[in-house]
Symmetry: C3
């Protein structure tokens, strides 16, 4: 594995085309904090499979278009080369592309949106990084902000229509739980889809590809992702969340990211950190439910906002724990130095 | 009084159990910026009486549980010892506990919520303090954020039900004022309940206990609390707010806190500061009404958010006034140095 | 022109009454970033004409009252003299006054609101400037925040009634576009009203006065204002926005401000900056639509929030471009040094 990667790295250094390909693959890997082109390739396979299986190939294409636009925009804006090469200016772009094509109906203006969204995500990334530098990274905040604004605007534009946007409503009391009790098989499905929903996919095969992609880069990241998903599903079940949301992985994708971020990226794994990460992961499930509710009147999805909010809350007190020493292979934290 | 307190202090220094009791009492006092265990004891009596009189003993118990959990969490996170001993990591916890048990129906998951909320409030406190350090304190923002998220999430959980949450609605024009004109007695009641509602209680006896608790620590704090409550009730009446809200103290508890904070804690009382505090207190009544309206679609209460927002707005220009010299006995501002 | 202005400046230096008049005129000019009393006078003429033509003289009066109150408050708070003389503490005040009198019905409490709003806008200005100093200016954020809070609060007050506030609603899908296709004449009207709506006026004559006012101070500001308005109207048309909003200038006033701010105030005009400003201006149209939608449940207008949000987003990455050298005549950026 090491050999293949170092061979690839020397090829990339030699060809600007391969370097640009490398940057885009690393960008895809950085969605889950992995600065690794092989991880990016496996993640891309997961996205492609998930889109193909759900008969929405335009979603995968939009993701690729947006990540390329984002990295071209970053180059045009003369961003820091090291961070660019680590894929830090592209991971929000691919999520913007995937989300826009998932929630909006296809059409020419969708592609205007994908290109504009990819470009703006870089500007937001630069700004957010400047603000949060003293204590953390931008995480997927640029994706969330850019996508929220673009989706909200469609309610005022006849040229763009929602395809899978939630219905707007005022907040009302929870409808009593009527469904059958959840079976173990449902919970297992919930765990897998919690992982694939990080890329807005509901596919167990995609989830397995994502776990393999994590494992080739960092076994501990794969373990925290799986552990975070299990903890999220159990927590959501304990509080009596709607079973469709649990089994669809829709309450688990943010907690998965929280677990990876706090457990492996920003803090050194120690027992205290593991306990701290568990509290944060459980709290992310609650915040996912809270933001789902808070966004009900606006008819837009919460995206990964719960992950961003909780991870920032749990990163801000930073001085209580020793920060990780940041190596070249851990570029997700480059924005934090 | 001085003698009792210094005797108590030497006892606390000697016993870790008494020290922990001291920390929790000071935490309760810090809700109104008083770093004084006797004040905390009188405030606790007010809470206990208010809960007993309203037949909701679980509210007082939840407050005590949450403040204890918060201070234990703070110790586990190795927070600054001086701030811990001053009660600065517990005052948000007690408010979280009181609010959760006030707005949610009793049940086992309520207590999971109270414990989790108490713990998370400390993390939010650490982070908020890091952000606002250059110009102010965290105030009760950690309480507001933590409680809002926990309450919103219940609308997605069948295991937790609202007991006294507001009904969600879209914002509509004010219904013309039909009630009888307010009598002096109503206004007096509004003044007292504005003070007791700081601890989510509607009880004149609790209000008197709170005023005595303030007075034993700082006569000027008691005077600003009473003055703030009177000003708030008159302002709300002038603008034609709903009479039930006025007489229930529901438009006055945030202005009371604004008056204490700006008039006695963060600025030195001078005529210019008094005028500045009056403008801020009047504006807090307007912001209380504004946030009540803004939160209507979300079906959650404003809590002390109006106090936090207005006090931060009026603290940010800081350089225009000379800051108070911060003594050991004024630890509420420890986060501001 | 130069001669008249230097004559006026020497008169102002001599008389404190003329100096105060000068400050208030410059405050009006600063709404569009022009530190020039003649520009302010022409802008005031535009406001007066727009109010007179629409039979709402109280709107212009409220604007004047609020700007005077704001500048008196700024003096009382001992703000920085240079920034005060450049009109930087008054431009939010005049907008608060215009907006309150536009959206609320006349009455004695309206004038309490106008005075309070003018005063509070200065406090918010001081605080915002402290926060954004490292990378930008406060822009019209103080106007937006103060006015939103004051307008929201009226839904809880029987003493203040809305006159032109939007109706609250939940967010619903866009109603298919039924109107006649837009004619060129409609687009031209949309361009002019996009400029006059910066001061909440729907008047082509006011727009011409504003353009002349810009031109006497800065030809490039006038060009960017006109260009921004044209780009905004075309973008809104492309996305299929409601034709009434386009022709009424209601999707264009924020993009006009974005274009002036990014193209002429904060960055030096170069080709890269022009391209950057075009992207930001197009994005402001989308954000205008997004915030119109997001504020639907709250029944309040977006005001210039889209301009503030997008301009801040595009200013934050600052280091990618060279900042303008800040001269004495470009005091709008005084808060950025």
């Amino acid at each position: 594995m090491e050999k293949i990667l170092s061979k690839w790295e020397s090829l990339s250094a030699w060809s600007s085309v391969l370097r640009f390909l490398d940057i885009n693959l690393r960008s895809i890997g950085q969605v889950m904090f992995q600065n690794n082109p092989l991880t990016g390739l496996l993640f891309l396979a997961a996205i492609a499979w998930g889109s193909y299986a759900a008969c929405v190939p335009q979603v995968a294409i939009a993701g690729v278009v947006a990540v390329v636009v984002a990295n071209l925009t970053a180059q045009w804006l003369h961003v820091d080369t090291e961070a660019l090469h680590a894929g830090l200016y592209g991971f929000n772009g691919i999520l913007v592309g995937l989300a826009l094509a998932t929630f909006l109906a296809p059409g020419p203006l969708l592609w205007v949106y994908v290109i504009l969204g990819g470009a703006v995500s870089v500007v937001v990334m630069l700004g957010t990084t400047n603000v949060v530098k003293p204590w953390g990274g931008a995480l997927t905040f640029p994706f969330v902000l850019t996508t929220w604004l673009l989706l909200l605007a469609t309610y005022g534009f006849s040229g763009l229509a929602g395809a899978a946007l939630p219905t707007g409503n005022i907040v009302t009391a929870f409808q009593p739980y009527q469904g059958n009790p959840l079976q173990l098989i449902d919970l297992v499905q919930g765990v897998f889809l919690s992982i694939s929903q990080v890329f807005l996919k509901a596919s167990s095969i995609a989830a397995l590809l994502l776990l393999v992609g994590l494992a080739v880069s960092s076994l501990s990241a794969a373990a925290f992702a799986l552990g975070g998903a299990i903890l999220a599903v159990l927590t959501a079940h304990l509080f009596g969340a709607e079973s469709d949301l649990i089994t669809g992985g829709l309450l688990g994708f943010s907690p998965v990211l929280t677990a990876i971020a706090l457990g492996t990226v920003f803090y050194q794994p120690k027992w205290r950190v593991v306990a701290y990460t568990i509290v944060a992961t459980v709290f992310t499930v609650i915040v996912q439910s809270a933001l789902n509710v808070a966004l009900t009147p606006f008819a837009i999805p919460a995206l990964t906002a719960p992950f961003v909010l909780v991870t920032w809350i749990f990163l801000l007190p930073r001085r209580c724990f020793e920060p990780t020493s940041i190596g070249a292979g851990d570029a997700a934290t480059a924005g934090t130095t």
